[in-house]
């Protein structure tokens, strides 16, 4: 049957995509948002009592309400994940595990468990003052090589519970296709975004049982952060497109592309595009009804969705293919405002009033 489905291009073999419609209907909200701060490679937003913490490459910044930033820490490797609670900051270092700064567990590190190295920490969330949840995106590549993991169809991600008191790490779920975001629900269930399978899972912490709560997303989900009204902000790496879906089915082509083409020019999702004329498809053409038209597949995109407590999308904020606020991989609420880190656009965006239900923007 699988052969038949593959032959006929049906079910998982159909190169079709869910459409961005309904609550995910494109608008210009991210493109029109004001710039809170310019920060190249902006990532990992955490609202703390002392201000907004954000990361850029291997440096950690703290911003005041006016958007003035200062470096508060610097590491040898890029920062791949940050979370904070109770005066503590947990920082994921790309290729080098997790380090806790401040608070009662300051200085504790986690670099491996059960013979597996935490070299791809993609998301961190405190379950309580003594427990940290960690997503290890892949066993084979560091977090900075997320595109390689996608194009290799990686599914070696895992979810861990780190006991900060004892320093022990327990694997809760394994075989995940790039878990990139974790959110707690106040119960034993947590939400985990599984990027390469375009879904969000609910995982039971005691049994490890998984259940998809949001499937067939038209984009690659990234981090999840808490929102007003017990909801969540779900950010995305980029949108899916049919060409990438097709390439993901063409093993021989993909293997050659990974081996022979420099990574910035892969036909793969990206956090930013239009940076070089050598990027794929930028100068391409499409003949439609006898008329030659310029055509480019969307590689990068900016998308943040507001979901309810059951992870159902309610509204979304976009920067479309012609925009620059792309690669919006992190979002967090500060007061009534929503702050979004646009890694592709190199800035932190502020959407005033959005964290209080304000929704007025151009389509």
């Amino acid at each position: 049957m699988n052969f038949l489905r593959k032959l006929l291009g049906r079910d998982e073999w159909a190169i079709t995509l869910p459409v961005l419609d309904g609550p995910l209907l494109p608008n210009q909200a991210l493109e029109e948002a004001e710039t809170f701060a310019e920060l190249a490679g902006a990532d990992n937003l955490v609202a703390t009592e002392k201000g907004l913490v954000a990361s850029s490459a291997n440096r950690l910044f703290r911003y005041d309400a006016a958007g003035q930033g200062e470096v508060i820490a610097e590491f040898d490797h890029p920062i791949s994940a940050v979370t904070g609670a109770k005066g503590m900051l947990a920082i994921g270092i790309d290729g080098d595990g997790v380090v806790i700064q401040g608070g009662q567990h300051g200085g504790r590190t986690f670099t491996e468990a059960n013979g597996r190295r935490f070299n791809c920490v993609t998301a961190l969330t405190f379950l309580d003052a003594n427990t940290l949840l960690m997503a290890n995106g892949s066993d084979t590549v560091p977090a900075s090589q997320w595109r390689r993991d996608l194009m290799q169809k990686g599914a070696s991600g895992s979810l861990w519970k780190l006991d900060l008191k004892t320093g022990t790490a327990t694997c809760i779920a394994d075989g995940l296709a790039w878990p990139a975001g974790i959110a707690t629900t106040g119960s034993n269930r947590i939400y985990v975004s599984e990027s390469w399978r375009h879904r969000v899972l609910a995982i039971d912490l005691s049994s490890g049982a998984r259940e998809p709560v949001l499937e067939h997303l038209p984009a690659y989900p990234a981090r999840i952060s808490p929102a007003y009204d017990a909801g969540y902000w779900l950010s995305f790496y980029s949108v899916r497109n049919q060409l990438v879906e097709f390439i993901l089915r063409e093993d021989a082509y993909r293997a050659r592309m990974l081996a022979e083409v420099p990574e910035p020019f892969w036909m793969a999702p990206s956090l930013a595009s239009g940076l070089s004329f050598r990027e794929p498809m930028q100068g391409s053409q499409l003949k439609q009804m006898g008329v030659l038209k310029p055509y480019a597949v969307t590689r990068s995109y900016g998308l943040v969705a507001n979901c309810d407590a059951r992870m159902r999308p309610l509204a979304s904020f976009h920067s479309r293919a012609d925009g620059t606020a792309h690669g919006t991989v992190a979002a967090c609420e500060v007061g009534d405002d929503l702050l979004v880190a646009s890694r592709g656009g190199g800035r932190i965006l502020r959407l005033p009033g959005v964290a209080n239900g304000h929704r007025e923007f151009q389509r």
Binding site: I15, T16, L17, P18, G22, P212, E215, M289, L314
Partner: protein
Amino acid sequence: MTDIIEFQTATKAFGGLAAFKNVNFSLRKGEIHALLGENGAGKSTLTKVMAGVYKLTEGKLLLDGREVSFSSPKDALDKGIVMVFQETNLVPAMTVAQNIYLGEEKMFNRLRGLYIQARQFLVGMGFQVDPTAQVSTLGAAHKQMVEIARAVHHKARVIVFDEPTATLTPEEKRHFFNLIKRLVESGVSIVFITHALEEALEAADRITVMRDGEVVASGEAKDFTRSSIVQAMVGRSLTETLHGSASRTPRPYGEKVLSVENLSCAGLVRNSSFSVFAGQVTGMFGLVGAGRTEMAKVISGVMKRNLFHGGEIRLNGRSVRYRVPRPAMLDGIVYVTEDRKFDGFFETMTVGENLQISELSNGSNPLSVVSLSRARVLAKEWGERLKLKAISDRARMIELSGGNQQKVVIAKALIQQPKLIIFDEPTRGVDVGAIVEIHQLIGELADQGMAVVVISSYLPEIMAVSDRILVAKRGRIVEEFMVSDATEERVMFAAVH
């Protein structure tokens, strides 16, 4: 230029309901006159009066300044007025030449001679059509050429086209307009009904816009703009009183029940994608031929699966592809047909019997035992629920009014306890009172958490019932609005551009 055809305060009513009233319209010799308006505006009826299909109820029709009343289409044809319909009136099994000379056959026909004569005639008109080709093998454009050739052969002075370009490709359209310009140069007058505003603005000499059976704007094409035409097409007062104001808060999004991804179907639906959410009414607007009905029929298994030319349909995330409607019904998808008389019910059966037939198909009665008492119970139960006004419990469907027939069709769908219900033109041919009740029912179904899709070509209806409006055009969903953001102008603009 002199007027070849003129309507003076013309009215055509069907059983007291005016299709158009007090219409003044003129067609000059050698001009191209575009007739625009929404579906149901009265354009087709007006042209059918011109072509002798109907007679005027009131007013005058003048031909060359003299009052005429055509007794039949043949009568109009004899006077040089020909109508070319969207679906061509050619005989598919006959050749091109046979179709051109249809009705002029002699006792003994020499086909070779006919083909030579037809070839000379077609070449003379600049048509590249093989006279020996069977019509069923021709594309839409070539069929239209044969229709035009036939009209010219009948010495047509006036040719009326009903949506001539709906099925043509852009190149075929260009060819078509070159063709009608040549006809006009030879003194033929053209009336064409179209939904494509660009075509009217580019090709026509004059434009007339109709709305709710009245001419609301008429003049030289150069005096019109796209926005002025759209404004004239939708600006209405009567419908607002009937359907209420559209400015209301839409229902929130529920679970995504249906996801259609890159669906293609037999050239009618092209790479179309959209989603439908529970607890909402999703309106699907588009002009006739936009591919909405085909999408709905493919989703619900009504249309043959071999017309399914790619894409995926996901019901609650699960990929589905139905070959017949029954598995779709069992999965919770029902389609309420736009053609109730043909597809909706058995007209000589009673309401209860029709309802029981529907119940038999939902699997709740595995032995398919027919029970008259059960039929009566169903008729009573659904009659009360949908406020059915039947003469008696045993009334046959044919004895019911259009509105009540439609309620029975809806009841047949609701018996299936669907998760997703697709209404196709739910109030077509339904009286005003029933329209309001059907709209209320549609709203109640969404309030109960059902995913509801309403397909309608009537914009006020879409605005009145929908929470979310999808606009279809030429087999694709081209735009989406929440009803709070939608205006009639914006929706119509998306549908015609």
